[in-house]
Amino acid sequence: MNTLAEPPSQQFHSDANRSSTDAPRRAAVRRALSNYQTARNRTGATFTDWKSARASAATIKHEALNHLDRYLEEFEQKFTARGGQVYWASDSKQARDYILELAKKNNVRAIVKSKAMTGEEIHLNQALLAEGYGVVESDLGEYIQQLKGEPPYHFVFPCMHLRRDEISDLFHRELGTAKTDNPEELTMIARRVLRRAYVEADMGISGGNFIVADTGMISITENEGNARLTVGLPKIHVALIGIEKVVPRLADLALFLPMLATAGTGQHMTGYNSMYGGPRQTGEIDGPEEFHVVFLDNHRTRLLADPEQRDALHCIRCGACLNVCPIFKNIGGHSYGTTYQGPIGSVITPHFRGLEDWKHLSGASSLCGACTETCPVGIDIHHHLLHNRRNAAAQKPAKGEQLLWKAFSFLMKRPSLYRFAMKFAPLGGLLHPLVQGTPMDPVAGWTGSRDFPAAPLGSFRERFRAHNAAKQSAAHTGGAR
């Protein structure tokens, strides 16, 4: 978790190093994700042609982002025609201030919130609590994390790292309930608290999975029904959504809803899929009296301006790239110190929060490409990690490292010098002084936990030369006979 007391890269190093040796936690996360993988493989196979579905999804998102202005305005026009209100927030502060002002104006006391990573992104709960509003997270996982005072571990499965007994202990400590190992009982404990929160709340805050331009509606996908109650019961509803979540047509959801479910949790369809198009209309008996959609930019347009990486805005936040990432599985979600963890988070966080402070996340990858392979909307995730590395080196080269690569390139462009180095100082002994004592030192980094191969007698090129000489002499002898 980023405490802001130390630079993000230092926090990452210490947290990742600690978590990657926490064997029980790693095993629990791997077990949870292997269940996901089994479910996903089964569901993915029910698509007639996953590859084409993926290509279509990428095409639709590409179209949506290329005409973002048009589609967002189309949404606004349709949504406001039904009495909804749209606020365009350039950054976190604007979004927070708008929501705080709204709460103040309406004498709001209690707020219930359904899952919204945008809320995490702008630190909305902290801002609301600081102003004295009570806020209750209604998604079970988010509620557990809120009680624990921790940010989500995974942006789809917020408390996937916790065991049942840990949750039971937490409820016992915070709510005074009896300890239990039964998941149903644990759920019922949370439900009792949450049911009261829906009724008491005078403001409901949600995120949104899709912004549907042609009908002017937002689409919310969930498994617990909590978002329906969050939207439906309080008299004011606020949906805080990133501008990239737009799709042009309602018909597009025929693809995106099953795709999000499949990639996200391995379900055919998520439990509840709802469309919300505005506040209570004349003659309707329920629904919020006011419905506000807050469109959040918060540097998304900065990413949009980058032609190389703008496909990262295709992301539907399914979390599949986290679920297959060997780095995520070994270091866990909190090590990242970001709202969006895992490979996609490592790609977009430098755009949202600054490359210099967040470039280390792009470096902390073996570039295996499992993320790109699994991404349902075809984002070139692991290559963007390479692009971030290149951009970071160009923006502010690390002096020592740059010197190392210059020396490396000097050597590798000179085959005779390279051969000499290989012969007398195997494997870059020549370059070693440049990195000795730094994190780049291959010897220290390697031999702490792994053996180094024994140096063979003679390089390949020496053996190949000898092999050819022997062949020639054999041919010669053969010819003379």
Binding site: A16, N17, S20, T21, R26, R30, P326, I327, K329, N330, I331, G363, A364, S366, L367, C368, G369, A370, L386, N388, R389, R390, N391, A393, A394, P397, E401, Q402, W405, F408, S409, L411, M412, K413, P415, Y418, R419, M422, P426, L427, P439, M440, D441, P442, A444, G445, W446, G448, S449, R450, D451, F452, P453, P456, G458, S459, F460, R463, F464, H467
Partner: protein, 238 residues
């Protein structure tokens, strides 16, 4: 056919037997094998570190070295992917873009060359033992090589090939990543090696020596009994 070998720097210095095994396999098939001595490194270390100018100057040298080659065969999926996939990107919009693309199109990963280009699967190899195969990420996901090495190993007499659960999971090498983030890299190696050990295999085979350096490094330190072999070494044995 005249085939030109690209032997990455670490195979040259640490795993010469892998290179020689490739030579034996290709010569037995009747091909003329050449190895331009001017070759050094593909430039992947600076490329992956973000230092693309430095990578480009090394890469440019290799483009010269392999200019006259008919086909270039790489004994490492990773270095092969550097030629095949990343050179075109590295030189995109640069003077040598066409040359980079030319090298890319004639570069083959060793197993893919044998199976797809030459149409050979049975090399008459014999190797006794139980083995599991590790898919190097670059070979698997950048080059799309999955079946070719298995096809070749299926025809090796005496070899009992068993798949591990984590065959496609990264071993945690990742070049400079392995030394920049040794703890994470080692945790990944542990997951990989546990999966190898579960199969009760005596050997782990791969078409990438860099992964094998990582896997072997961890196994030697912690297990000791499982041996690492490059695909070419198995195919060359009789």
């Amino acid at each position: 056919m005249r085939v030109t070998l690209f032997i990455p720097c670490f195979i040259d210095s640490l795993y010469p037997n892998v290179g020689m095994s490739m030579v034996h396999v290709l010569e037995r098939l009747g091909h003329t094998v050449e190895f331009p001595e001017e070759q050094t490194c593909c430039g992947q270390p600076p490329f992956n570190s973000g230092y693309w100018d430095e990578a480009r100057s090394v890469a440019s040298k290799q483009i010269d070295v392999f200019k006259d080659a008919e086909v270039v065969i790489s004994g490492s999926g990773s270095c092969g992917a550097m030629f095949k996939v990343f050179y075109p990107e590295l030189f995109h919009g640069h003077a040598r873009e066409v040359d980079a693309k030319a090298l890319s199109s004639k570069t083959w990963e060793f197993s893919e060359f044998l199976v797809t280009k030459l149409g050979v699967a049975d090399l008459g190899a014999r190797f006794e033992g139980r083995a599991t195969f590790h898919d190097g990420c670059h070979g698997l996901r950048e080059l799309g090589t999955k079946q070719a090495p298995r096809e070749l190993l299926k025809h090796v007499k005496g070899l009992d090939l068993v798949e591990m659960t984590e065959a496609e999971t990264c071993c945690g090498f990742g070049g400079t990543f392995a030394v920049k983030y040794p703890q994470i890299s080692t945790a990944m190696a542990e997951v990989k090696c546990n999966s190898i050990c579960e199969t009760k295999a005596d050997y782990v085979i791969s078409n990438d020596s860099s992964c094998l350096m990582q896997i072997g490094g961890w196994l030697n330190r912690n297990v000791g009994s499982v041996k690492c072999l490059h695909l070419a070494e198995v195919l060359a044995s009789r």
